[in-house]
């Protein structure tokens, strides 16, 4: 039990906070129920995938500023190709978009490894590149999502049993578990943490640093593609201008207990953090508070939580 607390203390605190916030939402809006949760999960889906992609790269000791632009590329590709396509063709498009995501991530990773420039510089440049690519694919919001893709993220998962579990949440959990759990236990997963915590030590223990870094960025690309697809699925059209996912994903990763210096954290924390930030936003809207105050509060929460984390770290070092 103690070990579990030590290992997952932060995640548990986040889960408790989320539960409290949901309770608060119920108190503010007594008829907040299944449809509220469904809307919340659907809105959080692209943010969650963005945060997952960012988390993988940050764990491996990098940062990907191009994540929102890659999501835009994936979203518009899907919307453009799915317009007027049959259900089967749309399935092929889905696979293609996921492959494109992996390819974009691999290009990011390759450029970082080959140029030996800092991650921040390369992905800053690629932010403009992917943004431009998205504009070339679709120069104004348009296209369409396949009906079955739309159905995949809307509505409850088990309408016969309980309406409280939305499909979007199930989809998120299934996708993340299918990718992350086998990875975490594999050699590659270990290498990701190794190069994130100490690249030199990892190199000396025989980890192929370059290849692992490329894999980390490819994974981020895959998650970005999932995020872009879920965005297109929930709005029904493709949007070439990247959304606010870059800042939101960095915020969620930090709140979620992934150290920006790399090597520490997991995917659960950032996902919980995404939901916490979404619920706070929802609560403030329900309380009829000026939506602009929400931005101030989000910034403050981000800064205060990280400051507290810093203080705790200092205490521990002194002790």
């Amino acid at each position: 039990m103690k070990r579990l607390l030590e290992r997952h203390g932060w995640d548990m605190a986040l889960a408790a906070l989320l539960a409290l916030l949901l309770l608060a939402t119920r108190l503010i809006q007594p008829n907040f129920g299944a449809s509220g949760i469904e809307a919340l999960a659907r809105a959080a889906l692209p943010f969650a995938f963005a945060a997952a992609g960012m988390a993988v790269v940050v764990i491996a000791g990098g940062i990907d500023l191009s994540i929102a632009s890659m999501m835009a590329v994936a979203g518009v590709t899907a919307a453009r190709l799915m317009q007027g396509a049959s259900a089967g063709e749309a399935g092929l498009v889905l696979v293609l978009v996921l492959l494109i995501g992996v390819a974009m991530g691999t290009i990011n990773g390759l450029l970082i490894v080959l140029t030996r420039l800092p991650d921040i510089v390369v992905t800053l440049g690629m932010l403009f590149v992917w943004e431009g690519t998205a504009l070339l694919i679709l120069n104004a919001p348009g296209g369409a999502a396949a009906p079955w893709l739309r159905a995949l993220v809307t509505g409850p998962a088990l309408p016969a049993l309980t309406p409280m579990i939305p499909k979007a949440l199930v989809l998120l959990v299934v996708c993340l578990a299918a990718i992350w759990i086998p990875l975490r236990r594999s050699r590659l997963g270990l290498s990701l943490y190794a190069i994130g915590s100490d690249a030199t030590a990892a190199f000396r223990s025989g980890v192929a640093i370059g290849r692992t870094r490329i894999a980390a960025y490819a994974l981020a690309g895959l998650f970005a593609a999932l995020g872009g697809l879920s965005l297109t699925a929930s709005v029904g059209i493709g949007e070439p201008i990247p959304g606010p996912y870059l800042l939101a994903s960095v915020a969620a990763v930090v709140l979620g207990g992934v150290a920006l210096t790399g090597g520490r954290g997991g995917l659960l924390g950032p996902i919980l953090a995404v939901f916490i930030l979404r619920v706070i936003r929802l609560d403030l809207t329900l309380l009829a508070i000026d939506p602009n105050v929400t931005a101030i509060l989000e910034g403050t929460i981000m800064a205060v939580v990280v400051m507290l984390g810093g203080l705790l770290l200092m205490r521990r070092r002194q002790a």
Partner: protein, 326 residues
Amino acid sequence: MTPTTQDRPSITLRTGRFLRDWPVVTLIILLLALVGLLELMRPGIVNERWIGNTVRIAIPLAMLAACQTMTMLTGSIDLSAGAVATISAFVVATQTPLLGPHAAIAIALLPAVLLGLLNGIGVGLFRVHPLIMTLATGLIGIGCLQVYQRGVIATGSVIPPLLEWLGTGRTAGLPHALLVFIPFAALLLWAERRSGFGRLLYAIGANEQAARLSGVRVWQVHLALYALSGLVAGLAGLLYVGFIKAPSLSLAMPLLLPSVAAAVIGGTSIFGGRGSFAGTIVGALILRVLETLLQLLRMPEGVRGILFGLIIILVTAIHVRLTGRD
């Protein structure tokens, strides 16, 4: 004793060494090459008027990039600079009808310094990662600005004539903004090389632990650095609003990422300890010339974005190789 030709190192080696000692020269050569390319593509475009315009557009960018240069020297970054510049610009435009231009300018710089101090407290005292801290203060600042906008929606906005004169005016082809920028750049270049504060920035960036052990109070330097960075961002916002002449809630936000790019192209290492504002100025000019070039090619917006991004990576990579730094 005069050395014979055989004793001299080969010309390529000497050039390489020269470029390593003077990284700015490489950048100036690149800038001139780009301008030459522009002249080749559209003969006659490079005239006094065009140069004046390019310099005028590059100045607010170079000032924002100064924030990035200063903070990057210590190994951090200031992502709140775009928000801070926007806030100063908006406040000055809305306060001018109420208080008159001079008081409005003074008041507009206040939130800039305050947000900077907040960054400094977070980074210096609480050891928050600068990326997160400046991101958060940027969010907070823009949120506050939006609330503030509600309160002043009735007053309307007036750009102080002084700022408009600085932003758009020119005498004999030279933009008036240079009146602010040249002393600013001179002061910064002097400060980063000659003043104790400037040396401390390099020292902290090169090895913070060593600086701390040699008696530097690192948190005080961070506090001063971020307050200064906020002030400079505020000034950049004031110049920019005089140039654009229409304040908005996202005025200088599109300048943020290019300001990071200008500093990076200018040879400032994002890990700290290396770089100079001189390179950043040339970097900002290169970015602006590049934009004209891409516009001139009449490419769709998407292609321009792609080329812009690739060129940032390419130029930085070449610069790092040529000067032998990483």
